[in-house]
Structure formats: structure tokens, C-alpha cells
């Protein structure tokens, strides 16, 4: 049920890919251990580049490698990669359309207890605003492994965020994600919960919980925040009565914003709520403590869903238990 950290799976997958294709290069900034790349460095030293603590530099190096036909994957903590290197990403990678894969590791509040310097809660907003840069946030191990394979073949840059801790499974064996395509995880007609990343399992459990109590919640996973699967989201808005978005990110500029922009500009006016980290330096604590504080849990999602639908919380049985916590 509970898998491994997505960033571990990503690096294991990349090692396999790199053994088959020597164009694949992994680059780190004193981050090989947190990126689970020590084995990669030992097995394929020629395809491994350590640049030290230099996040701006690494992005430029990767861009240069890409212009020479390499397929560079940059691994450094998401807070530093997405903020310190934002300009190098804008110019050297996105504007120049170099085939650089930017992997923001330990994203969101993976490093919850380390404080604001180590939180990356604006990365999706910053990266999403850069033209020509797809933004991907996988949920579970299976999806991570398959998306990395697809990204390696996909020509062009991407920003992909992974988390540090083990994540529960979401997808069944046989599921194959597709870049730019969302996944309908649970059909429903009362409201739609649209979610990304490491909160997908909690949202799906919340959806199941609601169904068991007579509320038909639809759950839609969006692993590619950009380009957004507009059709799937518009459909959800047309076929249900409310939209709740859930993300490990600021309520500004991330998945919720993307969904809201889409709905408003398609004249779809339905009750909507963006659940994420409010516009403040996030509380400091473990990832789970931060999630609990902001209601990014099964209980919190259920409560927000009920509020959106105008259902009194006491109307339904509230024997909520956190699964897999």
C-alpha cells in the first residue's frame, strides 16, 4: 500500500534509462544523497556531473549540455531550483527550449521542519508562469516511474517536482499516465475534487468516504499542471455542482489558480474553493503536521467539500479515520 519516496523511484528509473542511453546525464548540487543518486554516480560516473552548491550554474550547464545532444536531468531541492535559478530556467531552458529536465526534489513541505528556506510552496506558480515550460507533479511511485520514461523521450524542457517521503499508492497496476492528461480516479456528480501530487491519496480517500455517505464526489488527478488538461476539468465543472482543488502549494498560482482561470474564462461559475497553503510563511513542522494544520488531510478535504455543498457537517456520520498516516 505505502510505497517508496517518489524521488527514489525517479532516480532508480533514471539509472535504468541512463544505462541504455548514454545521452542521459544526471547533475546534482551537493545533493546526490537526497536525490538518491549515489548509486548512479558510482555505476555511471561519466554520466554524472556534480557541480557543488551552485544552483544557478547547474541550470546553465544543463542547457549547454542539451545543446550538444545530451539529455540532462538536474536534481536539486525544489525551493532552490525554482527560486534561485528562476532566471536561468526562464532564459537558458524555457526560452531557449533546451531539452533540460529540471527535477525539484524534496518539494512542497517535504522539508517541513527545516523552515521557510526549505519549503517550496511557490515553485508551481513560478514555473507555471514561464512560457514553454511544462510543470509536472506525480502522485505515486508507478506514475513517477512512467512519467520519467515519457519525459526522457519527450523533446523539450520540463519542471518536475518530487517529494522526500514515502507515498501511498494511488494507481493500479496497468495504469499508464500521459503527459498533459489528467486522470479520473473516481466518478461522481455532486462535486469534483481536483488534486495533484502527494495529496492525491488523501483526496481519493476523502472521495470514497463521501461516496460511502451518499455524496457523489468525483476525484480528478492533475499530474501535469501545465499544459492543463482543460477538457477533463471543464467536464468536471459542467457535470458537478462545485469544485474543490487540493495541493501542497500556495493558494496563489498553483493548481487551484490554473483551474480557476480556466473556469472563469469559460463562463463556468460554480462554487469553488482552493485548498492549499494560505498566503503566509507556512507553519513549521513535519509534512504531516503541516498538512494537518492546514486541513490537507482526509478530514480537512471532507470538511471543505461539505462546506462547498452547503451540507451541515453534523448531517453526516463523521467517524473519519486517517488512512495510511
Amino acid at each position: 500500500m505505502t510505497g517508496k519516496p517518489n524521488q527514489f523511484i525517479l532516480s532508480q528509473t533514471l539509472l535504468e534509462l541512463a544505462k541504455e542511453d548514454e545521452r542521459v546525464i544526471a547533475l546534482v548540487c551537493d545533493s546526490r544523497f537526497s536525490a538518491h543518486l549515489a548509486e548512479f554516480a558510482a555505476v555511471l560516473p561519466r554520466q554524472f556531473i556534480e557541480v557543488g552548491i551552485a544552483e544557478q550554474n547547474v541550470v546553465g550547464i544543463a542547457a549547454g549540455l542539451a545543446t550538444c545532444g545530451k539529455i540532462p536531468f538536474v536534481f536539486t531541492p525544489a525551493p532552490f531550483l525554482s527560486m534561485r535559478s528562476a532566471e536561468q530556467i526562464k532564459i537558458d531552458v524555457a526560452y531557449s527550449q533546451t531539452n533540460v529536465k529540471l527535477v525539484g526534489i524534496s518539494g512542497g513541505v517535504s522539508y517541513g521542519a527545516l523552515g521557510t528556506t526549505h519549503h517550496s510552496l511557490q515553485d508551481l506558480a513560478v514555473m507555471r508562469a514561464i512560457p514553454g515550460l511544462p510543470v509536472v507533479v506525480p502522485s505515486d511511485n508507478r506514475e513517477t516511474a512512467l512519467l520519467v520514461r515519457e519525459l526522457k523521450e519527450h523533446r523539450g524542457p520540463v519542471y518536475l517536482r518530487t517529494g522526500r517521503g514515502p507515498v501511498p499508492d494511488v494507481h493500479e497496476a496497468g495504469f499508464v499516465p500521459k503527459l498533459g492528461k489528467g486522470c479520473l480516479l473516481l466518478p461522481g456528480i455532486d462535486l469534483a475534487i481536483v488534486v495533484c501530487g502527494e495529496l492525491v491519496r488523501a483526496a481519493l480517500d476523502a472521495g470514497i468516504f463521501l461516496h460511502e455517505r451518499g455524496i457523489s464526489a468525483r476525484v480528478v488527478e492533475i499530474h501535469t499542471i501545465k499544459p492543463l488538461d482543460e477538457e477533463l476539468i471543464l467536464e468536471a465543472a459542467r457535470e458537478t455542482k462545485a469544485i474543490l482543488t487540493v495541493e501542497e502549494h500556495s493558494v496563489y498560482g498553483g493548481l487551484g489558480s490554473a483551474v480557476a482561470e480556466l473556469l472563469v474564462q469559460n463562463r463556468l461559475s460554480i462554487p469553488m474553493r482552493i485548498l492549499g497553503i494560505p498566503d503566509e510563511p507556512a507553519i513549521v513542522g513535519s509534512q504531516l503536521e503541516v498538512f494537518r494544520y492546514y486541513g490537507l488531510t482526509l478530514e480537512g478535504i471532507v470538511a471543505e467539500a461539505l462546506k462547498l455543498l452547503g451540507v451541515d457537517i453534523t448531517d453526516i456520520k463523521t467517524d473519519i479515520k486517517v488512512k495510511g498516516a
Binding site: D30, G52, E55, N57, G115, I283, V284
Partner: protein, 274 residues
């Protein structure tokens, strides 16, 4: 410095090491290596040199210390507690939900913290700003900043190094915690980031080299820094990562791993604090 004064500083440093071990063990995560390597530098600054008032942390005339290598927060917190900025009992709340002592220093939460750090490479610029303000306001406070030897791989450090020289920031004294280790290995394995003495000198800094665990040597260096006019001083402090705990010394694996309870006991016993 008299023998007695040195003994008092040594004892203080030992207590600070003890706090570091205990707080990390209580938190179950954090950075012992780079905290322990900087103990004498902070002890010297806070208990022998700097001018401050723990009851009035915002006193405008205070000397400033910026921990640019913010992951060494435990040594800063332990020193600030010993200096009276907050109770020593607070230390074991490190990294707990709601604590004023988070994994990396937050100037809004912790009395005595001058700058929020943790994203490496930024502290020297902030220290430049404090030193520039001191010049503008004709104040005689001094600004100290501690950099990691891995940290100086960040380009911003070198931008700041030029600024400090350009504005003749002789009220600024930087320390380099030259412990030769970062996370992925020895500094020279990770990057040809060698000869910091030559490099800072070529940028125009006054550069000194000292044993970073020797109080008398630190005092001589800081005296010389203070007497040096027209340029900033960089004190390259030769240190041992994990200093004071035999099994942590010079071990790259103790960069960011907290001691387990038995290991903490062993460390405290070595420090004569068990």
C-alpha cells in the same frame, strides 16, 4: 587572554557542544557536523568579543552576527541560550511544531537571530548591508558573518565579496569554517573549491588563517581584523567538522544526521557531560 579566561571559554564551549548533542537527539534530525566545527568561533564572539544586550536584542548599537551557513542553527541557538536570549530549556524544542527554534534560523521568531538563513550563499550580502548601514549611520558596531567552505561555491558569495571590498567594509569580519567537508564528500572531491585564502586575497580582502578551535588565535585574528582599515577581513578558520565528538570528527556522514539516543549518550560522556 589569561589561562583562567581561556578555561572559562573552554568550559562554555563544552556546554554548548552538550546542548547541540542534546537538542539534535531530541529533534531526531539536524546538522551536528557543521554546528560542532563552529563552536569556538561563536563562543569567542558571544562571550569574549561582541557587544549585545540579551534583554534588548534590537539595541541599535549592538554588534551583529550572521550565520550564513544557516544549517548550523543548533550552534547559534545553543550560544544564544547560553548568552541569555531565551531559556536553555527551550533548546530541546528544536524543530518541534510551534517551536521558536526551527530547522533554520528565523529572525522573526528567535530573539538574537539577526538574519533568516538556510538558503546558502545569502548571508554575506546581508552582512554587507548591515556594515554599510553602520557606515552611513556613523555607528561603531561591528558585523560578523560565518560562511561554510561548501557554501562559498555559491556565486552570490563572490558578488558580495566584491561589494565588501568596493565599499571598504572594514567594520565587517567574515569567518570561513574551513572544515573541508560538505554533503556529497570532501570539498575538493565535489568541486575544485580550494585555496580560499588566495581567492579572497585576490578579491582584495585582508585574509588571516587561524586554528578555528583556539581561542587565543581567534582573539589575535579578530584584533587584527578590527585594526585593519579600508578593507574587510576574512578569517579562514581551520576547523574539524564534528569537533569534540570522536566518532563524528571528519565524518561526512555526520553532516545532517542526528545522533540516536545511545550515540548522544556516548557523545555527552566524551564531553564529560553525561
Amino acid at each position: 587572554m589569561t589561562d583562567q579566561e581561556r578555561a572559562a571559554l573552554t568550559d562554555r564551549a563544552r556546554r554548548i557542544r552538550g546542548h547541540i548533542i542534546k537538542m539534535l537527539a531530541a529533534a531526531g534530525s539536524g546538522h551536528p557536523g557543521g554546528s560542532l566545527s563552529a563552536v569556538e568561533i561563536l563562543t569567542f564572539l558571544y562571550f569574549r568579543r561582541m557587544r549585545y544586550d540579551p534583554k534588548n536584542p534590537q539595541w541599535p548599537d549592538r554588534d551583529r552576527f550572521v550565520l550564513s551557513k544557516g544549517h548550523a542553527a543548533p550552534v547559534l541557538y545553543a550560544t544564544l541560550a547560553e548568552a541569555g536570549f531565551f531559556p536553555v530549556e527551550t533548546l530541546t524544542t528544536l524543530r518541534r511544531f510551534g517551536s521558536i527554534l526551527q530547522g533554520h534560523p528565523d529572525m522573526k521568531k528567535t530573539p538574537g537571530v539577526e538574519m533568516s538563513t538556510g538558503s546558502l550563499g545569502q548571508g554575506l550580502s546581508a552582512a554587507n548591508g548591515m556594515a554599510l548601514a553602520g557606515k552611513l549611520d556613523k555607528k561603531d558596531y561591528r558585523v560578523y558573518v560565518l560562511l561554510g567552505d561548501g557554501e562559498i561555491e555559491e556565486g552570490q558569495i563572490w558578488e558580495a565579496a566584491m561589494t565588501a571590498v568596493h565599499y571598504k567594509l572594514d567594520n565587517l569580519t567574515a569567518f570561513l569554517d574551513y572544515n573541508h567537508l560538505q554533503i556529497d564528500g570532501r570539498i575538493e572531491e565535489v568541486k575544485s573549491n580550494t585555496d580560499p585564502v588566495g581567492r579572497f586575497r585576490s578579491f582584495g580582502w585582508h585574509v588571516l588563517e587561524v586554528d578555528g578551535h583556539d581561542f587565543a588565535a581567534l582573539e589575535r585574528a579578530v584584533d587584527e581584523a578590527q585594526a585593519t582599515k579600508g578593507k574587510p577581513t576574512m578569517i579562514v578558520a581551520h576547523t574539524v567538522k564534528g569537533k569534540g565528538v570522536s566518532f563524528m570528527e571528519n565524518q561526512v556522514g555526520w553532516h545532517g544526521t542526528a545522533p540516536k539516543p545511545e550515540e548522544a549518550q556516548k557523545a555527552l560522556a566524551e564531553l564529560g557531560l553525561a
